[in-house]
Structures are given as structure tokens and as C-alpha cells.
Symmetry: D3
Subunit: 163 residues, 6 copies
């Protein structure tokens, strides 16, 4: 461990929270992928997969739309985040035996990255799934909200290693 405390980008030397000044940064192509996992029992999973009616997948579609819309409003929620126009937001949902996995993808051409937009999309989509299932099971847990990869910007590309 370092003997002296290192400086966080979002904290001024006197301890105040601050936005990072992105004024000098070049516009580059940015992408980010993130995920969130919702642990559900088998019965709820089955219910979400089939939709239980003629038109299938609707609860999942509601969660996808919520995630896309939340990504566009990330800078309203995260205090030190920059407002930026996004090229595209995509949210996909897949199922395993015991859980539903949300994966988000965000892309922009801008002076700052889109990691927070991807994480916000995945979080809000997962919360929306919880909302629709909470009458059946309040104990549902959202886990592994995390960045999967990012590209572009001064810090370059980053990809999560195997876990």
C-alpha cells in the first residue's frame, strides 16, 4: 500500500467533490459494456421467460426500455457525471437456471467515457425486473453490477479478466 494517500480524480486536494474537467480531451469513439444479475427462483424465471400470455416477453421488454431511458439521464442521477449525446444504447436480457442477466452496451463519440451510462442502464433494468416481481418475492437480490469492458479515451481499452 502506498505510504501517501493517492488522489481521486473526482476529489479536489482540499477534499471537495468535483467534476473532472474534460475540456482539453479529444473527441474519440467510446463504448462500454456492463451487466447486472438478478437472482430469481425457477418459478419466476419461467414466468418471465414465457410471458404467460399471447404476447411474450413483455416484462423483460419493459425492463429493457427502462434501462435505455435511464442511460440517457445518467448525468441527472450521478452528480459529477457529464451530460453527453449517446450514439446508441442497447440492453439485452438472457436467462440461466437461477438468474436473469442484463447486459447493456453504450456508444458515443465524445470527450468523456460512457461507463456510467452502461452501469446505470444495467442497474435500472434490473431494478425494473425487481419491481415487477416483488409482489411474488421480496427477497430477490441484484448482484454483480459491474463494467465488462470499455474502449476509447486516454486511459485506453479495458476488459474484465476471467473471474
Amino acid at each position: 500500500m502506498s505510504p501517501e494517500p493517492f488522489q481521486l480524480s473526482h476529489v479536489a486536494p482540499d477534499g471537495r467533490a468535483r467534476m473532472v474537467d474534460v475540456g482539453g480531451k479529444p473527441v474519440t469513439h467510446r463504448t462500454a459494456r456492463a451487466e447486472a444479475v438478478v437472482r430469481l427462483g425457477a418459478r419466476l424465471l419461467e414466468r418471465l421467460k414465457t410471458g404467460g400470455g399471447e404476447r411474450k416477453g413483455d416484462p423483460v421488454e419493459t425492463a429493457r426500455i427502462a434501462g435505455i431511458m435511464a442511460a440517457k439521464r445518467t448525468a441527472e442521477l450521478i452528480p459529477l457525471c457529464h451530460t453527453l449525446p449517446l450514439d446508441v444504447v442497447d440492453v439485452q436480457v438472457s436467462f440461466s437456471k437461477t438468474s436473469l442477466r442484463v447486459e447493456s452496451f453504450v456508444q458515443a463519440h465524445h470527450v468523456t467515457g460512457v461507463e456510467m451510462e452502461a452501469l446505470t442502464a444495467a442497474s435500472v433494468a434490473a431494478l425494473t425486473i425487481y419491481d415487477m416481481c416483488k409482489a411474488a418475492d421480496k427477497g430477490i437480490v441484484i448482484e454483480r453490477v459491474r463494467l465488462l469492458s470499455k474502449t476509447g479515451g486516454k486511459s485506453g481499452d479495458w476488459k474484465r479478466g476471467k473471474t
Copy 2:
């Protein structure tokens, strides 16, 4: 397991997503507690705890404020959630050896519960911590976003068991 698919409160018989009609419900005292855990390395934890300057705790304070403000806007983020006036939102942050834990508390007197508000507060506070630390470590994971307890309403009180 039930042989026939059961019905989700937020899904109509034909599969469409829907809001629950709370028109017939009585106004009762509602509370909810939720948490989110942010796994950070020791160095980042130390940095967040000390603030590294004269005024301590500021990054944590930023996250708390973000969580409180997000709770008030839950119905804008979660499509089928009801807008309701909240009596109070509180967000607290505590530290263990390897992680930071956000705990939220929300209270209202209304016809519908405040679980989503508590979960949204905890999620957005945790995402704000990630935002301020991501330049130092993109691999930080948010875990265990979950309800701890709720009181009030027709479904009564609920408390998470030991895990």
C-alpha cells in the same frame, strides 16, 4: 412448483406490462430499508474514509446526496412505479475491510409501498461511489442490491432472514 404459470401483479392476463391500481388501498405508514455493497480494494477504502484533505468524507457525502435525490425520482426511472410524496429518505455509508456498504431508509404515508425508492437510493449511491473511484479501478463491483425490510401495506411486514 406450480404446474400452471402464476400471474405477476405487473403483467396483465394478455401479457402486457401494467401498473398496479392502488386506488382502493388505504393510506398506511410505510417504510423500507435496502442496501448495496461496493467491493473496493483496501487503498480506495482508505482514501474514501479519510477524504485525504481537511474536509473529510466528501466523496461519501456526494454519494449520500445522490441516493436521496434519486429516491425522490424513482417513478421517473421505474416505468410501472407510482409517484408518491416521501416523508423522509436517509442514506448511510459504512465501511468493512474490503467493502463499503450503503444502507437506505425510506418512509411514507401512502397507498403504495416504498421498496423501489429504497432500492433506487441504494443503487444510485453505490453507482456514485463507482463513478468517483473508476479512474483508480474500473473493476469495482456492486453487489447485494437488496431489500432488508419493509413495513406497512396489505402484504404486511417483511424482514430478510439471516444469510
Copy 3:
């Protein structure tokens, strides 16, 4: 026709726009239904009805969600509208030979009516349909945005006559 100009509720005697003071009004059960019609060619209608893939009805579901979410934010859009907690918002979509019809239903227990919420839900759902179809046909027209009925409040119940 009246020889003297009558007074609009939202316009003060000196001509200024104003909110109606609802402070003295009793809380009553309020409902409103509204509709909007989107004129589409047969080919687009067919496309929206079938969804064209495994999961059906998704463009329509996106429009329904947009309408529900917009209803909750009506007072942010319409300057002199009151903020109020809604019991339920529902948006349904049906098809005829040449058009898609959005019908919205809003309910609240409050001192003011929910007509604007119902009209906003129908309008935004219709605009969302336009957004998803505009690459195929920019000439699509939204027609007949109108209230169908309302109940509750001092002015009592109202129902549109046959047209």
C-alpha cells in the same frame, strides 16, 4: 354567441396565464379516458401487429410504456397543470384496417382531474409509434387526440357523444 368575452379558468382578468387554485376542492375519485389515432399504411400496420420476430408486439409495448411514463410527468410538460399522485395509468393499443388506436385510462383520488394525464399518455404513445415507423414513412399522421370521458370533481361526469 355571448356579446362579452367570457373568462378562461387559466387566465387572470388582466390576461396573465395562471394555475387554478385547487386548495378548496375536496378529494374525489377521478378518472379520465383519452385516445389518439395513428394513420398507417396496411404494410406498417401488419408489421406492428406481428412484430416480425419471435417475440411479438414489442414496438407496441414500447409505445405503451412511453405513454405510462409520460402520464406521470404531465405537470412537467403542461405549465399550468398540477402535480398529483396517480393511482393507475393504463395504455392499450388496438388495430383497425388503416390505423392504430391508442386508448389511455388514468385514475386518481385527488383535488384535481386527470384529463391532461390521459391526453398526454395517448399523445406520447402515438408519437412513439411515429418515431419507430418514421424511417419507413414520414407522412404518418396522428389524429383525433381527444378526451373520451371523465368522472369525478365539481364539474361532474362527462362523456363524449357519438361522432
Copy 4:
């Protein structure tokens, strides 16, 4: 008519709603004009035209402001719409014998068009007129919400033909 269903830009091959990826598109000069018509009786029209007080035109001015402000928030309302900085929004109101016509104009230099912003401005301005007149006449109908023209972008210029 095509024997196979064609693909909507906002619907993925598997039926999911999606944003169009505008990442590869060049920045061009974009404009859009839209309109909405509010059918009002002669008495209400007269009342709106004169303002009925010393300061004229105020209800109309409120509607214009509402339309301008709504255009700036289009991407919050329409789920698959892109956030973009607008160069200008203008909303004008004119009167005929039986109706009030809202015409909106939006301009931007961006990778995506501004049709939805123009249509949202016209719709919200028209809804605001309804709101101010509804105490006098709940039966007012908004008609002909439609694009008049657009310029710029890969799909080029488009102008509505005579109807």
C-alpha cells in the same frame, strides 16, 4: 406489397425495440417543421385571440413556451430517441375560423434528425391549449399532428405533398 415483412429501423430481427446506432453518421444541418391543429368553437377562438385583458395573447404565449421546452426534453419522453443539442426551436400559433394551428420549427447540426423534436413541440403546445380551455369545453379535439418537412441527413429532404 412485399411478400416478406420488412424490417423497422427501431426493431431488431428478434423483435426487440432498439435505438438506431447513429455512430457512423456524419454531422449535417437538420431542420424539421411539424404542425398540430386544435379544433375550437368560435367563442373560445375569439377568447384566445384577444386575451381578454390588457396584455394580449398570453394563453397562446404559454402554449408556445410549453412547446419550446418540451422539444428540449423529447429524448426523455420518446424511449428510442437520441439526446441532442438543438440550435433553435420556434413555435408559432395562427388562427382560422374554426381552429388554432400550432407550427413548430426545429434545427440542429447533428448526426440524427429532429423530426421527433418538432412533433413533440407541436403536440405539447396543442395539449397546453387544451388544458387552458378544457373548463370551457372538454370536447376540444387535437388533429393533424404531422410532419410538414425535414431537411438534412442520409434520407435527404422531405416535404409533405398537398392534401
Copy 5:
């Protein structure tokens, strides 16, 4: 001066910012009046008073609408403020020889006061006047943003003394 520091309602004993819990408070009739003064030169004042065209008072009307809309969104801006439904918001503008004065009035029946809503309405209306005049004079100053009176609630009525 007190020898010991007294406690602010919005600050917890450990120094954290917090919302005041209004859960135990009774619903009462609340009002608040606030003002803001915009110092303008005589020429700008004349311009704002006459409107300079056929339809008079429009810049002032824009500011009034902005103030009313901002009051409804106070809880989104002020972190520890409660969301509450307002009965009415009114914003009036008057002129003296060297300045324009905005006066706001807000009323609600609720468990918490509306002082912040009145102050936010007055502030945003004054900022809107600045926005419309800044091309002519960047040096315009907004002064005396302050509460004039409030009624209702446990702390009772309050009225500003002569100054």
C-alpha cells in the same frame, strides 16, 4: 452568541446532511410568498414593459411561466426538500424606476411548508429575465431573493418586518 453550537434541522449529530422526517406532522394549510428583484437600466425596463410589438408583455410572461414550472420541480433541485403536490403557484412581475420585482405565491395542504417552492419560483423567474436581457447587458444583478411571509405548520405564521 450561544457557547455550544446549535443543531440545524437538516444536519444529523454526526454532521451528515439529512432530510427532515415529516412523517409525524399533521396536514395543514400552507402558504409562502417570496420575492426577487432584478436591477435593470431604464432602457431595458422600458423594453420589457412595452414588449415592443403588438403583443405586449411577452418576455415577462415567459419569466412567469418559468417560475411556475420551476416551483413544481423544487424537490428535484434542492436535495433535502420534500416532493409535494401544490394547490397553486402564482408569479407576478411589477416594475419600479430601476428594477423589476418578481413576487411568487405558493399554497399547499401538506405536512411540510412551501417556502422553498416560493423562493425557487422567484429565483428562476428572475434568472429567466436575466437570460432574455443578457445580450443587452451582462451586468444585470438579481438581489433580495427572500421570503416575505409564510403561514401554517408547527412553526406557525411568519412575516418579514420592515427593512
Copy 6:
């Protein structure tokens, strides 16, 4: 003084409020500084300076965060303001014997200036201080909300003279 009324940039020749068309303007580096002064008694000032607990400065930090977040939403509040991505927003608070001073700084690379963003940040931070102190003193006054300097754009640099 001019014998004929001059034209405001935000008012059309016929008196309607309007956005300024920034479509033809070049992208330049823009900055703005603004301030707001909150007159507080000595006791409240002392309380805000020390924080009164282990973690110091938290009420001030809450106000700073509120100001930063408000700057990003300026175009939602001020009707004729343009939406634009900001490079950085900073809000600082300092103390004199009888008052607290908020100073904001905003920077962007865009076709339009950031004066309104700086003024909105300062105003909302000052209102947040009022909110946290109002239980102790409702008579607190916010004064001197004003631009300190701006750089960039066609109108060039501007700096407030000594007062």
C-alpha cells in the same frame, strides 16, 4: 438613450419570446463565473463552517453538489436556454463575517455561452443553503446573484468592473 425601443435577442419583432438561433455560430471555448451571497447571522455562519460534528463541512458540500447538478439542467428551467454538454462545473463556498459566498465556474466548447449555467449553479447552491438554515432563521436573504466574468463567443470576453 435611444429614442426608439431596441430589440431584445430573445424577443421577435412581433413581441413573441424566442430562442436565439445558434446554428451559424462557431464552436468556441466558453467560460463563465457567477456568484451569489447568502446573508446569515454569525451563529449560523459558525455552524455551517464547523459542521458541528466529526465530518466537517457537510451542509456546504450538499449545496455545492446541488449547484453542480442544477447547472447541468439549466435548459430545463430557463425556457429559451439551449441544451449543451458542459466540460466542467465547479462551485465553491467561502465565508466572510456576515455572509457566505457561492462562486460558480462553468466551461464548455460549444456554439453558445454558459452564463446561465453559472448563474443557475450559484442560485441553486444558495437556495440549498437557505433550505438547510430556514428552521433557524427564515429571514435569510440571498443577494448579489450576478455574473462575474465570461469568455468566448462572438461578444467576446466580459469582466465585471469594481463595485
